[in-house]
């Protein structure tokens, strides 16, 4: 069996409304958008571009920090494996809704992929706002049925020998993928390493690469 589907015994009809919540900052951005749109001062498309920046660039930095620290500090890595909620909270990133975190480590044999099959539970505290595709029914169903195919569509082709584990998020438990540290990054500082970690790599639809975030010469 190349894909394990870890299904958790929990009531998916309960508690999920908590996910539809704006932080003060998210709500303020929407408020500014409303004011400016009503006054005819902006095109909502301009705001979408800003929100996109928040989703893809600013939010996931917290998670990238966690990953870079795990790569650099074996003690922290061990703590993250044993008790991800506490290890992540030690860096100042705590879930607003008190949900638990679990870090799933990619290894040479196993690749991890995170989904929320029934809605869009997502580790907000470390990854910011979820991308649109994460919430899309196509991803939510196909990530379980055909994870290899989904990854290929993201441009990630894994060797057939590599096992893919799919983790189904819940309102109470969120997953953070710890990608494998790329080769050739020995001697890099935590800050440099964090730049190699993309949002998608922490969901499992990408891997960390030594050259990401840097232009090739």
């Amino acid at each position: 069996m190349s894909a394990d589907h870890h299904h958790h015994d929990h009531d998916h009809n309960h508690g999920h409304h908590h996910d539809n919540r704006y932080t003060d900052m998210q709500a303020r951005v929407r408020a500014l958008e409303t004011v400016l749109t009503e006054k005819g001062l902006i095109d909502p498309a301009a705001i979408d571009a800003i929100v996109e920046t928040y989703e893809t660039k600013i939010g996931p930095r917290n998670g990238a920090h966690v990953v870079a620290k795990a790569w650099s500090d074996p003690d922290f890595s061990g703590w993250l494996k044993r008790d991800a909620t506490a290890a992540i909270a030690s860096l100042g990133y705590a879930g607003r809704q008190g949900e638990h975190m679990r870090a799933v480590f990619n290894t040479p044999d196993t690749h991890n992929l995170v989904v929320c099959t029934l809605c869009s539970c997502y580790p907000w505290s470390v990854l910011g706002l979820p991308p649109v595709w994460y919430k899309a029914p196509a991803y939510r169903s196909r990530a379980v049925i055909d994870p290899r195919g989904v990854l290929a569509e993201f441009g990630l082709t894994l060797p057939e020998t590599k096992k893919i584990r799919v983790w189904d998020s819940t309102a109470e438990l969120r997953y953070l993928v710890i990608p494998e540290r790329p080769e050739g990054t020995e001697g890099m500082s935590e800050d440099e390493l964090a730049k190699l970690v993309s949002r998608d790599a922490m969901i499992g639809t990408a891997i960390a690469r030594a050259e990401s975030g840097k232009k090739r010469p």
């Binding site: 539809n20 704006y22 998210q26 709500a27 303020r28 929407r30 408020a31 001062l41 919430k135």
Partner: protein, 87 residues
């Protein structure tokens, strides 16, 4: 967006740069610039108030309205301001 509003003549580039730099240098801001977006939002809010586009109360009321709308919106449905039950 700031560029866009500047082009509309809402404020001069100098005013924007000043507002943003005040926020970025405000005490308690992150040294690594990771809260740049927070600064940016604060600067824009401040300028809109200064320029009389909206008062602080209106922006805060809208912000709270969006939060109520988010909580009232069922999962999988787009969050719209009209979903605020108090609106």
């Amino acid at each position: 967006m700031a560029v866009h509003l500047h082009e509309k003549g809402l404020f001069t580039w100098g005013e924007w740069a000043e507002a943003l730099s005040v926020e970025v240098r405000r005490q308690g801001r992150a040294e690594d610039g990771s809260d740049y977006f927070d600064c940016w939002v604060a600067a824009l809010s401040g300028l809109l108030v200064t320029k009389g586009v909206a008062d602080a109360g209106t922006i805060l009321a809208l912000q709270q309205s969006w939060q109520r709308a988010a909580e009232a919106t069922p999962h999988g449905k787009p969050i719209e301001l009209a979903n605020d039950p108090l609106r």
